[in-house]
Symmetry: C2
Subunit: 155 residues, 2 copies
């Protein structure tokens, strides 16, 4: 992850507010300690014609990868902790629309790195549920209540 | 139109690259000298839920208006010459994806203000046609050839 010029950080913040997304998924994965993978993401979208700008952003930011969806949309996805943490801290001062999401992401990344017990894990999932409201998302497969129920069944 | 802070100009450039549009329409209108209105626009899009950020941009830029489309999209539209000219000059240094469109718009605004003859007007329409390629637009109702044909029929 690169150290960004302030003007580049402001540009990226604008681009993300206009056409990007900050979200955290809770994915069932038996190889993880509590049976779920916590996957935070910052994603920039473009039609495949706009792929060049995604490559430029990737160059600028210095992390993440680009993938093509079947529906013709190209996504530049940042999912690794180090890049996410650095990026979100650098663009946060300039974000307007997604400022709260950025602050929540910082809190989640921090809390994620300190999870020890199942209680810690459930409190993290609860925090992630807050994205529901922020992102106007209507469905979340693995919210606090369903994860809690699943974990308690295992005991 | 306000004088923007550089960081705000960079933010707006990012937002426009991510989710905005620069275009010029050639609209038939008998009240105009050559039978067509040249309507340049910078537009920012959001779902109606994202209306607040459009209002914030409008506050920041100090011009234009917001309208709601029937399909649930809100548009912040800048169409008056003074605001367009000021805005595009201030954000041009930070644009990446739409830099060429911005430069073409500046050229068009300049040439538009100096139209006297029908030849001038047709050469302006030809310049506007260049947006076709830049915006990947497949159809343009009133391109150079059709406007030229119409104007020649009138003679």
């Amino acid at each position: 992850m690169n150290q960004l010029e302030k003007l580049d950080a402001a540009y990226i913040a604008g681009f993300l507010d206009g056409d990007g997304s900050i979200y955290v998924r809770v994915k069932p994965n038996a190889t993880y300690k509590f049976g779920f993978q916590i996957a935070p993401n910052i994603v920039f979208f473009q039609s495949q014609k706009g792929i060049k700008i995604l490559e430029e952003l990737k160059e600028l930011i210095g992390g993440g990868y680009i993938r093509f969806r079947k529906d013709g949309i190209a996504e530049y996805i940042i999912g690794d902790m180090i890049t996410l943490q650095n990026l979100v801290k650098q663009i946060r001062p300039y974000l307007r629309l997604k400022k709260l999401q950025a602050e929540l992401l910082i809190q989640i990344l921090d809390q994620k790195s300190r999870v020890v017990t199942q209680e810690d894990f459930l409190s993290l999932v609860k925090l992630i549920d807050s994205f529901l409201t922020l992102n106007y998302s209507k469905k979340r497969k693995n919210g606090f209540t369903s994860v809690k129920t699943l974990l308690e069944q295992k005991l």
